[in-house]
């Protein structure tokens, strides 16, 4: 049996005990990555470093050292996270080949837990996209149907796990960029509460929304990765000092008596009928397990897309000002050109069409004459969306919804229509705007064998509750 088919806790236990060597796991993972190169999930594979690191882990174990909770577990890293020993491109030409002078805290924490960091995964440029077609290095393909998109923006990370190349991956989620690709590839993806996980070393997109989180094949495996990366980081002032509970233990709790809210606002026009059936069936199984299903109202859900695309683009237009060709990355300089021309030429050559579109939109909503009608109004609507969640969580413990309105759509289908692409995130955006905890887990397949995801949402810092319900869903799956 391949070590890559084991749950993370079991593989780590075997590597800790020496019944499987980290080196054997590393070789299997690297071989799987090479065999599935056509999926374009990886932008960089750290072959040599991974094998060296694996041998070092085996040697430490042989000397009697106890290895960490991710001993020998191959994990892929979204290319939006800075790494010292591999390039960080963020899916953009403007950072092609760039080496960060420092490492993201979450990457250091995985390393300290003895994970094998096999490589960097493909993504929509600067995490802007819902299909992975906005990568400057070509789209990622869905392993269940290679003519379809894997979701985005963390598509490469989702596919690394879904296609069995790694047992886990890190992604980042600003408006659904972990949950939506998890749903479309049949993996588990967690967007932790705002402040739960350090963002030091995550290339910033929209700072009031960005969160780092894990992908894995099952809920307890995702819980183990989350436990390793969560917690306060003195280098990120937005990271919370709240203690990190035992997330794996939470996966064992049953759901009897828990109140599951189902907002009809998430089941309206645009939702594919097959997706709706699978999601409702999963909710019915929770009810059969003893949970109480409660209809709730979240009336501002329908404004999530507009609110998000005003606020996220405004923040992005400011965050992406740092890419100017002066301190790192691409520089377009012609003889005799002045500094302003250097900025303009570098940014125009380095950014792709979607990034330019969002920078321009963000510039528009912040510009004189439009600021109050767009940016300030969107902030007020964000407050209303947050209030919807506060009111809902006064009545229920978790909220259950579809993650994505459709299963994976064909490559190219929405490329020409940015608005149609934005609507792919309609169900994931509100939880991001409210800063609460959410995840997606697989709950079935369409007739064409495409995965369907259930989104569960819990109050901020209630990841344990989220994981209890998700694990119960997983156990109840037919």
């Amino acid at each position: 049996m391949s070590p890559l088919s084991l749950p993370i806790a079991e593989l780590a236990r075997r590597v800790q005990a020496g019944s499987v060597t980290a080196e054997a796991v590393a070789r299997e993972s690297l071989k799987a990555i090479a065999d599935r190169r056509g999926l374009n999930a990886f932008l960089h594979v750290s072959e040599h470093a991974t094998l060296e690191h694996a041998s070092a882990l085996d040697a430490r174990r042989a000397r009697g050292e106890t290895l960490g909770p991710l001993a020998g577990v191959p994990i892929a890293i979204k290319d939006a996270l800075c790494t010292l020993d591999a390039p960080t491109t963020c899916g953009s030409k403007i950072l092609a080949g760039w080496r960060s002078p420092y490492e993201a805290t979450v990457v250091s924490r995985l390393r300290a837990a003895d994970a094998l960091l096999v490589g960097k995964t493909n993504m929509d440029e600067f995490a802007m996209g819902s299909s992975n077609e906005n990568s400057a290095f070509g789209p990622v393909k869905n392993p269940w149907d290679e003519t379809r998109i894997p979701g985005g923006s963390s598509g490469g990370s989702a596919v690394a796990v879904a296609a069995g190349m790694t047992l886990g991956a890190l992604g980042s989620d600003t408006g659904g960029s972990i949950r939506q690709p998890a749903a479309l590839t049949g993996t588990v993806g967690i967007k932790p509460s705002y402040g739960r996980v350090s963002r030091y070393g995550l290339v910033a997109f929209a700072s009031s929304l960005d969160q780092v989180g894990p992908f894995a094949r099952d809920v307890p495996s995702a819980a183990r990765i989350l436990a390793v990366i969560a917690g306060h980081d003195p280098r990120d002032s937005t990271s919370s000092a709240a203690a990190v509970p035992d997330y794996e233990a939470a996966c064992q709790r049953d759901v009897r008596g828990l109140r599951v809210g189902v907002p009809e606002d998430y089941f309206g026009p645009g939702l594919d009928a097959e997706v709706a059936d699978h999601v409702r069936a999963a909710i019915a199984r929770l009810e059969a397990d003893g949970a109480c299903v409660v209809p709730i109202a979240m009336p501002h859900t329908r404004h999530g897309v507009a609110t998000y695309y005003v606020l996220a683009t405004a923040e992005a237009s400011s965050n992406l000002a740092r890419f100017d060709g002066v301190r790192f990355g691409l520089r377009e300089e012609r003889p005799g050109s002045d500094l302003g021309t250097l900025y303009d030429a570098t940014r125009s050559a380095g950014f792709g069409p979607e990034v330019k579109r969002r920078i321009l939109l963000g510039t528009f909503v912040l510009s004189a004459g439009y600021y109050d009608a767009y940016y300030a109004q969107a902030q007020r609507v964000r407050a209303l969306i947050r209030r919807d969640f506060e009111r809902a969580f006064a009545q229920v413990d978790v909220i259950a919804t579809p993650t994505s309105p459709t299963a994976a759509f064909p490559l190219g289908e929405r490329v020409a229509d940015p608005l149609a692409m934005y609507l792919a995130d309609v169900y994931t955006l509100p939880a991001s705007l409210a800063g609460v905890a959410a995840l997606s887990l697989p709950v079935g397949r369409t007739r064409s064998q495409l995965p369907v995801g259930l989104q569960l949402i819990a109050p901020a810092f209630a990841e344990e509750r989220l994981l209890s319900v998700a694990a119960a869903c997983e156990r109840a799956a037919p």
Binding site: P101, Y102, E333, T341, L342, S348
Partner: protein, 97 residues
Amino acid sequence: MTVTRDEVLRLARLARLSLADDELPKLEADLSRIVDYVAELGGVDTSEVSDAPRVGPTAAPLRDDEVRAGLPREAALAAAPRVVDGAFAVPEFVDES
């Protein structure tokens, strides 16, 4: 609303992007449609929420005011396209504003 060619060019100047002529027609059309879509926010009754927009879900805690080591100069300069005398080098410019 229609985002005109002049408006796109004004935004591009603010955002420090030089757009090619062939990029403009699609940007005009896309931005017009997106701005029309997000304009629905204007119809939302926000009279019940405070006027002071809150950015981010939580207030950021302050850290202790103590001196800590930063990135070493060599590391900060390592990825710079051009370095002169231990500093980032840029073309000469005159700011007449």
